[in-house]
Symmetry: none
Subunit: 140 residues, 4 copies
């Protein structure tokens, strides 16, 4: 395992592959986006037959997970009616599961250096595919 | 205490400082925005390590508090399901705590001349930092 | 050579590879986007160190080449002062070289089924990388 | 001189100060924005009496100088009629003088880690104020 402090194209491509492999296993058709610390796209892949919402939602989830430094699944209840961030969800921030921030560093130096977002399946499937991608980041 | 009827840069900088001092006390990393009567940015400061949602949300809260002439915390229940402004929350209006309007004048002449918005901590922390800034305005 | 009438992920990935190989040859750092007949992203790759304008401009050029069914290099003089589409260039349509439409079918059935866009090098480099990708489409 | 590889709030504030000092010297009223490597605002200051275009244009110039890794003054002729990037200028990219990228690292590791943008004076004044800020970055 190599220490990583930035999301390069090579690891991002492997994250996409892992997410798509997981989607195939689950019978889902998804889009996968990986973004850098500024929330800007590093790579994106849409499976054949996946919906055209993917190019909007997958990068949106990846950006949102960077912007708020939490998974969009954890953000969901906060952004829901009754949650303290109710109203956050909109065109900019996508507040349901499928986005996961990528961390680097240790202790005080720990910080979010990117994010992955998956869209196209059920939310549970999107989360599971994003987890597969994030696990490449952590162990890769 | 000097009578103020407009949000100048000098007072705005002192408001930022007070908000950041409060954030430091609470262990939060925040962004702070101060806007004028037109909702346009006078100053903005993002603490080192504060999330990149701050440049979107702090000015958004400040603008919203000017636009509706109330704190965004007071706006939250109105913008929630069942509230009479339900549907207001979106990319333009940020409807959860952390934005406070700045008033000037007395009686009939009383009016909103600016706003402050804080984002990056919990909503309670954001509100407390915005209060610290607003109190500089009131007493400053 | 296989007959293709839609831009799938597999061919799109090979187009990205070809564009990046060409960029490497020319010493350029680029972003590459491939879109479908609806102008929606199929895949995107940004080389390490390539500028953050890429995620905006590469998909923009690909979309524009589909939307107008011509290369963005050919569109440039039409969109320039004195050209008959003057005023077209803006946030939506990117009207300088680096975008190429992807055609399928023959004779009356011939139609644009996607596009490729490259951004990050000089315009000449972007065009040459997009050509490398488009040639994978034609011969691939 | 301290080695810097990221734009923190402390240096950004000193850059604003330098830009405003220069503006005062030139009799200009300006807005100053400093952004990070992702183009996201670190700090912003608008002088008393400076126009409300500043909160749009100063961050826009700073972002543009990061996104294209060149000064917006150098970008201007490229984006002008006859230039190879004609059509680039729009809501997103501000393509006239006043934006300067901030570099860090050496040799192969050299990269843009932020930008400064100034707006409100003549373009010559904006450039001169942005230079004053950038020189704090370089020597600061």
């Amino acid at each position: 395992m190599k220490f990583r402090d930035a999301v390069g194209l090579e690891i991002a491509l492997r994250m996409c592959e892992a997410a798509i492999r997981q989607a195939t296993r689950e019978g889902a058709l998804v889009s996968v986006a990986v973004v850098d610390a500024g929330g800007h796209l590093v790579t994106f892949q849409r499976m054949e037959g996946a919906e055209i919402a993917g190019p909007v939602l997958a990068p949106g989830k990846a950006y949102t997970s960077v912007a708020h430094r939490m998974t969009t699944a954890d953000l969901a209840p906060l952004a829901a009616p009754g949650g303290e961030l109710y109203g956050l969800a909109g065109d900019r921030f996508v507040c349901f599961g499928g986005g996961i921030p990528l961390w680097a560093g240790y202790g005080e130096g720990e910080r979010v250096v990117g994010g992955v977002g998956v869209s196209g399946g059920t939310v549970a499937q999107d989360v599971s595919c994003a987890e597969a991608a994030a696990s490449v980041w952590r162990t890769g």
